[in-house]
Amino acid sequence: MEVLSTADLIESLNLGLLAPEYIVTGTLIILLLVDLIWGRPVANKLPWIGLLGLGLASLALIPIWSVSNTDSFLGAFTGDPLGLLFRGIILISAAVTILMSERYIYQSGTAPAEFFVILLTATLGGMLLSGSSEMVMIFVALETLSIASYLLSGYTKLDVRSNEAALKYLLLGAASSAIFLYGMSLLYGLSGGETKLTEIAPKIATMGFPSILALVLVIAGISFKLAAVPFHQWTPDVYQGAPTPVVGFLSVGSKAAGFALAIRFMTSAFPDFATQWHTIFAVLGILSMILGNVVAIAQTSMKRMLAYSSIAQAGYVMIGLAIGTPDGYASMIYYMLIYLFMNMGAFLGVVLFGLKTGTDEISAYAGLYQKDPFLTLCLSLCLFSLAGFPPLAGFFGKLYLFWAGIQAGAYTLVFVGLVTSVASIYYYVRVVKLMVVKEPSEVVQKYTPTDWTLPGMRSLQIGLVFTLVNTVALGLASPILNFTKDSIQNTPILTTAPLAKAEKNAP
């Protein structure tokens, strides 16, 4: 390659596109230094430093929206609107996770600074993953996200279940990384030494079977992050054992990064195999919707139920991926944004209840309405929204997803989605009914009114109100859907890639 002068090189790097990532990196270094210098006395300031950094990073996303040259770092990173929205979703989910973890960390007696540092690194990994367009970068970003997630799941290390969760997640995650890496090494060999996704596509178009093998291996690796059936075995145990705020982040932030990676990898590296990957994602989506919703019915632990519910929710989002139309992608982003608030809201409720009672059994929630109407309201609305009741946001999210599916002719997928959504109403409403109608359980009888002035409780309250407002209001805000549609139209990889018609009927 030709040698560039320093000024040209810096110019060609297009550094400005990663401004949000620089801010997140700076924040995590500041957090480490502040904790190192002042220690315990400033521990209660750390979450606010983290939130400030995440807020600034979100603001830094705005000017990137209208940038015309989206290639950064010589093609390693793409700052297109698609990635931008996913980076925003990951940033917000990290911010809500900080809000719900402050009190949790205080009560569990673990060190706060390291928690926020690892959480911000996971955020950084997820954000980079949403924009990576080159295989080495994808792998480094994926590992940054994964290793940070393993550490976070094992953060309460005196708890045996947290240890088990971390070890299970680590072993299965390492195996899936290896499969993903093998798929990428096949792509590297087949394309004659290319690592950029867009440059791989023309070279593997005529390869036939070996490219399909690489495609399957790559999808297996990505599906692990999405927790799609049959790559979901880690989910229930990790969700039940890991600290609850971490589970909130894993179910939203980590999943959003996985979907961003899936869209980018598939549309830029495999545009000529669109029929094949549409079919694979259709099958994965159907399996996830059915298994997630059916198994969730039988759960007795709230966190485990939300784990299976998140598998099912990922199945709905996969409808958008399986049809592969611009409307499908737009409704995926829209649903992820709504899912962020309703799922985080549910986890905030679980954290608050868990902190006050020390349990997450569903039966313990009985009669909560009599003692804490506010928490009951938050949890109920989030669960109703997850089930897809109008006029909450979750209803509109599902509506657009299914509508995009019908327009693309994917009737089987939409049919399975509708039937399983109806089935899911049972287990969401069961919890609400338990809280409102039943007599208080033993646990709830000892329940004292929440004192919001205790350390860390204020942020929990802010988080609950913030997610509640969004769960109610977001569905009525149609500009957001148009906004996601604009983002798809302005994303080069999604408009130049041949968008094959959807599979009419999934096998």
């Binding site: 009560q107 007696g109 970068m137 020390g358």
Partner: protein, 207 residues
């Protein structure tokens, strides 16, 4: 780097491959964990030989330094420190399970092997690089600048996480209410405070 003759390269490739396959089978099948660990080290050394044949001298050196020198020694330390002779618990239907596992592995192997043999791999026509270190450095600061920088954040986080995991923390025997300590991470902190006071000063100040 002076290049070897084609015949020598060919023969050494087969010798190295046979050694790698044999040693890695040994890693999986050896009943003693220590033997498995040493065979793993041997596999890594043979792999660096393959890298040498591919003109990747820097990667070969890094392979020996990092995998044999650091990773493998770490594994040996872990075995030494744990030092537990766990008796093997009998698994029900072991033969059938092994059989199914073997069939799956063989199927996967033949799938990959057919793919590798049948694929018309594109060959590079470029002349081999003489100074690989220079080339790697150049690539690190141009095409792979971002992954290079991000991996430093990754390492920093791994370091913080490792310290977090290895740091000593006290485990209270019993809580005030008398139940098992830390059944749930949500357990209220007030329960820990009496236990904190009883601890020696040095341990308490660590927290």
């Amino acid at each position: 780097m002076p290049s070897l003759g084609t015949g020598v390269q060919f023969v050494s490739f087969f010798i190295l491959s046979a050694l790698i396959i044999g040693a890695s089978l040994g890693v999986v099948l050896a009943p003693n964990m220590l033997y498995a660990a040493f065979l793993l080290g041997f596999t890594f050394i043979c792999l660096s030989g393959i890298y040498l044949l591919l003109n990747a001298d820097f990667v070969a050196a890094a392979q020996i330094l990092i995998y044999v020198g650091a990773v493998n020694v770490l594994i040996l330390f872990a075995i030494m420190l744990v030092n537990r002779q766990a008796p093997e618990t009998p698994v029900p239907l072991k033969k059938i399970r092994d059989g199914i596992g073997g069939i799956v592995c063989f199927g996967l192997f033949s799938l990959i092997a057919t793919t590798v043999v049948r694929t018309p791999w594109p060959y590079s026509t470029e002349a081999p690089v003489t100074n690989t270190t220079l080339k790697i450095g150049e690539q690190f600061f141009t095409n792979y600048l971002l992954p290079f920088e991000v991996s430093s954040v990754l390492l920093l986080m791994a370091l913080v996480g490792a310290i977090m995991l290895a740091r000593r923390e006290f485990v209270p025997d019993q809580t005030v209410t008398g139940d098992e300590p830390l059944v749930l991470p949500e357990r209220s902190r007030e329960d820990l405070e009496p236990a904190l006071k009883k601890l020696p000063v040095s341990t308490a100040s660590e927290e």
